[in-house]
Amino acid sequence: MLTIDQATYDAIVAHAKRDHPDEACGIVAGPEGSDRPERLVEMVNAAGSPTFYEFDSTDLLQLYKDMDARDEEPVVVYHSHTATEAYPSRTDIGLAMEPNAHYVLVSTRTHGNNDGPVEFRSYRIIDGAVTEEDVTVVAQLLPRESEESTP
């Protein structure tokens, strides 16, 4: 299951709507092993395409260096589909290289740049196997365990 806070969820949806009809993409980083999507990083779609996305290679390196410095990993990798359902395509499955990530797909096919509901779905993609999972949107993520245990 993916648990994500409302503000991050809203920001991903807003990004997808803003970039429609091109695909939007980005990540939500969190502490390694925590499964907590804490830090949204919107990425530029270097492909600038309605049917493809790719992080720019220079941006990609900077992103991973930043995460490394913070002991983070990509907890969520998201992108939008702008004319099809929010389900991983064969391309998405073949190129999914983060076994620990939740792959979030947003479809803007119904309302495009305008207000209105979107499909927001999450998957695990490991070795070509796709498993859909529930998405729980919370007002805020619970405090980290280490913070809770502090006397």
Binding site: L60, E73, D92, L95, M97, E98
Partner: protein, 92 residues
């Protein structure tokens, strides 16, 4: 001669979980051949039909090797190599 190679999560199955390994070689091709000796199977994840895989990014000292001659890109002692799979996909 040691060159530090940063390994992405997906390829750490080849490095016993190590985030970085040392390798040697005076160009990227030689380095990858050297890595293959210690981490069998990793070469096939980086190279396809004699060229770098389209959706694998390799950087030498923060520069994308595609702008440095690809597999011919020269290496020297102390260089840092980073391997990162592309984050890519799309509706088709």
């Amino acid at each position: 001669m040691a060159i530090e190679v940063r390994i992405p999560t997906i390829l750490r199955t080849y490095t016993d979980g190590a985030k970085a390994v040392d390798g040697s070689g005076d160009n990227l091709q030689a380095l990858i051949d050297d890595l293959e000796g210690n981490h069998p199977g990793i070469k096939d994840r980086l190279i396809e039909s004699g060229d770098l895989r389209r959706f694998v990014n390799v950087y030498i000292n923060d520069e994308d090797v595609r702008f440095m001659g690809g597999l011919e890109a020269e290496l020297a002692d102390g260089d840092q190599v980073v391997v990162l799979p592309a984050v890519a996909g799309g509706a088709r």
